[in-house]
Every structure is written in structure tokens, then in C-alpha cells.
């Protein structure tokens, strides 16, 4: 803990950086609520943004509109940037949306913070006992002499018998309240600590994977030598102290009797009046399910990492990748020299990804565009209350279809107004569909909304009644 180490830590370690961040209370409170309190591992970006917006909204109500002026998504990106390192942003294998998880460093900062406030009661006895037990286990576990081992077992047997005799005589030693609370405190600390250990474990597996890949990428020797060292490293994941301990923990937890015992004991202890007075976190009751979940997550990560590594080491892939990096150096060199006068004409020739199937009969026949005849009909203002929840219950609106309507319309002209679109592609889901068009326009940087001009849209609703809407002029541009 010398000055320079601490100075580096203060500048580099995400946990410390979190503690000294200007809006540390915002970050810590939010991350704690979302990730730690609910033991969530990966949260989709959209959900996290919504939750942060809620959080910010609540804070702004307390502290005035000007507090925390930026948008939720900007905060999140900032917290996930390398300069912060509190969130890990990644794309899980089966989804298109980025997900976020807490980094182990941020979690440590959160735990330290929570220890500052939490601790209504400091028990020391249970810790002393833990130290005793651990020492005992270690001595016994390393005792090679059977005689000494037996003597120890005999001593314990005598102790047990003495205790049984006392109980038969009607003397029961019960834990008093403070001893009970003391143990409970330690139990729940350890139980929650386990959860953050999983995160740290996963992180160190990632780090191991990174190291191996770096080594492969910069390898100069023969492939045989590489395989030798790398296979050593691969065993290192499951063979490391951490890996083995995790394995043992996992086997222990997976045994059904153990799970039953855990459930029963947790229920009994949490129902005890002395513990009830501590107002324990009810989620403690299902902490072993949380362990299972977190452990499974870690298992999956380890399996995925070793699968990828194996694939990467595959003979064919390995040579192909090397060759490609080599060839690309040449390509880049030439391309750089040619950039003043880039070549014309075709270069690469690739097969398409699938056969081109041309099925003439699949094409829709020409159908004359339906002309809406609205002129003579009087359009009535809606008088009855339209139940707005119908809007939310509406059928799913296929955004891609609408987008392709827009694209199609733009094929032969430079711009198209929303009114034109609706004329050529009548609304099928009424207002809701219109809203989706508007959201398309707002996402599309090339679309414009002119507030000073208006356009009228007409459609027929599900009951066959004509509808009309007046909107600012919305234009989609090519």
C-alpha cells in the first residue's frame, strides 16, 4: 500500500473511480438497485434505459429539473466506456440488442458502500468460531498420521456423547438471541458475497481467454508448440484453484438433498422471531436459487469460451486466418498507393448466398389502385369517447412492411409524403399504424416534418367508418 501503488489504483481502478465520480450517488444507487438488489446478470439496453429514465425522473422531482441533465442512454454509454469501466456492454449470442452487466470492480465498490451503512449489529463471536472451524479443518485435512486422526475423532465422539447425555437429562443449550443474530448476519453476508464472487469468477475466465488469444495471435513458433502451451492454458481454466473450487461448489449445490436441507433451514431460521426482528431481506429465502442461476451463467460462459477457443485453434481456421492477414497487408499496400485513381470495374466475384428462385406466379397481379371517394361524404367528428386502450391492444404492426412501403415508393421518385403513402397503401390498423409511420419518420434522418404545412390523411377503420387526420407535412426523402 505504498504511495505510488495507491496513486495508480486511484487513477486506474474502476472501483475507486466510481467512488470519486462526481455523480457517484446516482451511479451507485442505480446500479445497486438494478443489478445487485435483484441479482440480474444481463439487462437489455432498452430496459436499462427505461429504468434509468425512471430513476432520473424520480431524482429530478426531488432535486429540481436541472439535476442530471443528460439522457439515460448517454449516461449508460459513459458508464460502459473504458474510461469508466462500471458496465460491460456486449451482444449475447441470440439477440440483436446490446446488453449490460455490472463489472466486478463496480460491484466491489457497491459492496463497500453498502457496508458503510448496513451493519446495525456487529457480531464477533461467529467470526471467531469460523476462524476456529477453518483452522480445525485445515489441521485435520493435513494430518497424515492415522493415530492422531483417530484420537481426534474419539475426542469428538466423547464430546457428542456428553452432549447427548445432557439433552437426555433435559438440559438443552439454546443459542441466545444475540448469538443467533450474530450468526445470521454472517450467514447472509457470506451468502450475498458468493453472488458477487461469481461475477468476479466469470471475469477472470474472460481475462484468461483474452490472454490465450493474445498469445495465439502473436505466436512465432510452430503450431505444435503453440498447441502444447495453449492446451496447458485451457486446462488452466478448469484446473485453476478458482475453477476447481467453483466445480466443487457446483457439485455441492446440485445435490438435491443439499438443496432441500438449505430450503428447510432457511425457512425455519427466517421465521424465527429474533431474526424477524432484524427485518431480513426476504430474498434471502431463495438465495440458493440465485446461486444456481448465477452459477449456470458462469458455467455457460466457460463452456462458450472453451468452444470458441477450440474452434479458433482448428487447423484450417488457423492457417486461413494467418494467410488472410498476410494477403491483406498486400491489398492494403496497393490500395493505399492507388487511392488517387481507384480502379473501375468488377473486382471480387462472389456467389450469392442462396439460389435465385424466380417464381413468376408468386408475383401479385396488377391491381388498380383503389381510389377513395371521399368528396361527397360528410365526415363527422367523433362524438363518442374512443376507448384509448384499444390502441394499445391493437394487433402487432409490422414495421418492416411499412419501411418497405416507404422504400418502394421512393424507388421512382425523390420524395413521398405520408399522405401519398397512405393513399397507395391504405392503413390496415388505423391510427396505430399511422403512429408507426411517424416513428419511422422520426428515426429516419432523411425524413422531414414540416410543422408549418399540414396534410390530410383519410382511411377507413375496422368498422368501415371513414376517418380523417390532419398532421404536419411529413416527407420521406430518398
Amino acid at each position: 500500500m505504498d504511495f505510488s501503488t495507491l496513486e495508480t489504483l486511484r487513477l486506474k481502478h474502476p472501483a475507486w473511480r466510481l467512488l470519486v465520480a462526481g455523480n457517484a450517488s446516482l451511479i451507485a444507487s442505480f446500479l445497486h438497485r438494478v443489478f445487485v438488489a435483484s441479482n440480474a446478470r444481463a439487462i437489455p439496453q432498452r430496459e436499462l434505459v427505461l429504468r434509468l429514465e425512471d430513476h432520473l425522473h424520480a431524482l429530478r422531482e426531488q432535486r429540481g429539473e436541472t439535476a442530471f441533465p443528460r439522457a439515460a442512454s448517454i449516461y449508460l454509454d459513459e458508464w460502459a466506456a473504458d474510461s469508466a469501466g462500471w458496465l460491460r456492454k456486449f451482444y449475447p449470442p441470440d439477440t440483436d440488442e446490446p446488453h449490460f452487466d455490472l463489472t466486478p470492480a463496480a460491484e466491489r465498490a457497491l459492496r463497500w458502500l453498502s457496508q458503510l451503512t448496513e451493519q446495525p449489529f456487529v457480531g464477533t463471536e461467529s467470526r471467531l468460531l469460523t476462524v476456529f472451524h477453518l483452522l480445525q479443518e485445515m489441521t485435520e485435512g493435513t494430518e497424515p498420521d492415522p493415530g492422531a486422526r483417530l484420537a481426534e475423532l474419539e475426542r469428538r465422539k466423547a464430546e457428542l456423547e456428553a452432549e447427548m447425555a445432557r439433552v437426555r437429562a433435559g438440559h438443552l443449550d439454546l443459542l441466545d438471541e444475540s448469538a443467533l443474530k450474530d450468526r445470521f448476519q454472517q450467514m447472509s453476508d457470506t451468502a450475498r458475497g458468493l453472488l458477487s464472487d461469481f461475477r468476479a469468477l466469470e471475469d477472470s475466465f474472460h481475462a484468461l481467454d483474452r490472454r490465450v488469444r493474445e498469445r495465439i495471435a502473436t505466436w512465432e513458433g510452430t503450431r505444435g508448440e503453440l498447441l502444447e502451451t495453449v492446451l496447458g492454458e485451457r486446462d488452466a481454466i478448469s484446473g485453476s484453484d478458482q475453477g476447481r473450487s467453483f466445480r466443487a461448489f457446483w457439485d455441492f449445490l446440485m445435490s438435491p438433498e443439499r438443496k432441500d436441507v438449505l430450503t428447510k433451514n432457511l425457512e425455519r431460521i427466517l421465521a424465527h422471531p429474533a431474526i424477524q426482528s432484524l427485518q431480513p431481506d426476504p430474498r434471502l429465502l431463495r438465495i440458493h436459487f440465485d446461486w444456481l442461476e448465477a452459477g449456470e451463467h458462469t458455467q455457460r460462459t466457460v463452456a462458450r469460451l472453451s468452444g470458441q477457443l477450440r474452434r479458433f485453434l482448428d487447423d484450417r481456421v488457423w492457417w486461413e486466418n494467418r494467410r488472410i492477414l498476410q494477403v491483406l497487408r498486400g491489398i492494403e499496400k496497393h490500395a493505399l498507393a492507388l487511392r488517387a485513381s481507384p480502379p473501375e470495374g468488377p473486382f471480387l466475384e462472389l456467389d450469392e448466398l442462396a439460389p435465385t428462385l424466380d417464381l413468376p406466379l408468386e408475383r401479385p397481379l396488377y391491381s388498380p389502385p383503389s381510389r377513395s371517394q371521399m368528396a361527397d361524404e360528410e365526415v363527422l367528428e367523433a362524438t363518442e369517447d374512443v376507448p384509448s386502450d384499444a390502441l394499445f391492444n391493437l394487433a402487432y404492426i409490422d414495421k418492416t412492411r411499412l419501411r418497405s412501403n416507404v422504400r418502394q415508393a421512393l424507388q421512382d421518385r425523390e420524395q413521398v409524403s405520408l399522405a401519398d403513402l397512405v393513399r397507395s397503401h391504405p392503413l390496415e390498423h388505423g391510427l396505430a399504424e399511422l403512429v408507426v409511420y411517424l416513428s419511422l419518420a422520426s428515426e429516419d434522418r432523411k425524413a422531414s416534418v414540416d410543422e408549418s404545412r399540414t396534410q390530410e390523411l383519410f382511411w377507413t377503420d375496422a368498422r368501415g367508418l371513414p376517418r380523417r387526420a390532419t398532421l404536419p407535412l411529413v416527407l420521406f426523402l430518398r
Binding site: 451482444y91 471480387l348 442462396a354
Partner: protein, 199 residues
């Protein structure tokens, strides 16, 4: 589940899906399972059309390939079109292939995700330093759209974010890049000669 009743349907489903495009394990796990089970029969079926099944199990994708002449089928009309790509798009795909190789060597995620501006940066170095930046951005965007159309880039939910699909590895191979390098080298030599001649 009787095997006899299930098989014909599953086979048709697999073949039709393959005819429509690449089948990815992650996108349709159950289809993938049938494909693994039936791949020998699928190969038989599509060979009638002069096609072959390319199945990469570790990478998790499968697609149909035009079988070269002399591979038993004589002179069938091509079902799979061959596309000629312009210089910009070729360069973009080559550089993406390199990024995939780099990403494989670098770190944990299986997925290479890039933002639009990163894609633009990738080729920017190799484009003429014109005054009209808008024009080259437009051109690069067109190439990006084409790569999306060909199925090598996949737009993700987040705006202007693309996944570089690993199927690119099956198409932009070392062999095909070598061809690109040779053509570039030849063009380069020709250019030097022309310039030398003028001076």
C-alpha cells in the same frame, strides 16, 4: 414421435429454408437440429439441382453452393448467381474479413458489431482525398447497403449498428483475397507504367 411421420416434412422444411437463404443455428435452433440429422439426405436432394450443401457446424451456419462443373453434374444451368463486385465493395468486404480475423484473435465475444461510422473509417484511408466528403460518405453508405443486401452485414436493433456475419468467412476466403491482391498488383503496375510513359 414416429420417425416415419416426421421425416418428410422436416426434410422439405430444411431444403426449402436452404433454398431461401443461409440457415443459422442461432436464428432457428430447431431447424438446425433437423438439418444436422438430415444433412446426408439434404445433400442428395439438392445435388439434383446441381447444388451442394456447405455445413459449418462449429460456426453454426449452412448454405447451398453451386457445384463446380466436373463434380458429377454436367453443365446444368447455374441456380446460384455469381456477382461481380465493384472496387469499393470488394475493399470493404476484404477489410471486414480482416476485422473478423482480428476479432477472433482478440477477445471473448463471438460477435463482431460495428457502427456505421466505424465502417466508414475502415475504408476512408483508401479513398481518394477528394474535397467532397459528402460524396464519398454516400458511396460508402451504398456499399454498406449492398453488403447488407448480400447478407454479410446485418443491421441490429440499435440505430446504425451492424453485425459482421461470420458467413463472410465462407465466401471471402484466403483464395479469393489472393485473387484480389493479384488484380490490384497488376493494376498498380499498369498505373505506374502509364504515369512513367507520360512523364
Amino acid at each position: 414421435m414416429s420417425h416415419v411421420a416426421e421425416a418428410p416434412d422436416a426434410l422439405s422444411l430444411v431444403v426449402v429454408s436452404l433454398l431461401k437463404g443461409v440457415v443459422y443455428r442461432e436464428e432457428s435452433p430447431s431447424l438446425w437440429q433437423s438439418l444436422l440429422k438430415l444433412h446426408a439426405r439434404v445433400s442428395d436432394q439438392v445435388s439434383v439441382l446441381g447444388l451442394g450443401l456447405a455445413l459449418d457446424e462449429p460456426e453454426g451456419y449452412a448454405f447451398l453452393r453451386q457445384r463446380a462443373e466436373g463434380e458429377g453434374t454436367s453443365e446444368l444451368p447455374r441456380l446460384i448467381a455469381r456477382r461481380q463486385l465493384g472496387y469499393g465493395l470488394s475493399l470493404l468486404l476484404a477489410l471486414l474479413r480482416k476485422r473478423l480475423a482480428d476479432a477472433d484473435a482478440a477477445a471473448g465475444g463471438t460477435r463482431l458489431v460495428m457502427r456505421r461510422h466505424e465502417l466508414q473509417e475502415l475504408v476512408r484511408l483508401f479513398l481518394p482525398e477528394g474535397t467532397n466528403e459528402v460524396r464519398w460518405v454516400e458511396r460508402v453508405n451504398q456499399d454498406i447497403e449492398r453488403a447488407v443486401g448480400m447478407g454479410f452485414l446485418k443491421p441490429l436493433g440499435e440505430e446504425d449498428t451492424f453485425e459482421v456475419r461470420r458467413i463472410l468467412k465462407a465466401f471471402v476466403t484466403a483464395h479469393c483475397l489472393e485473387g484480389l491482391e493479384q488484380r490490384l498488383a497488376a493494376y498498380h503496375a499498369q498505373l505506374i507504367e502509364e504515369q512513367g510513359g507520360r512523364e
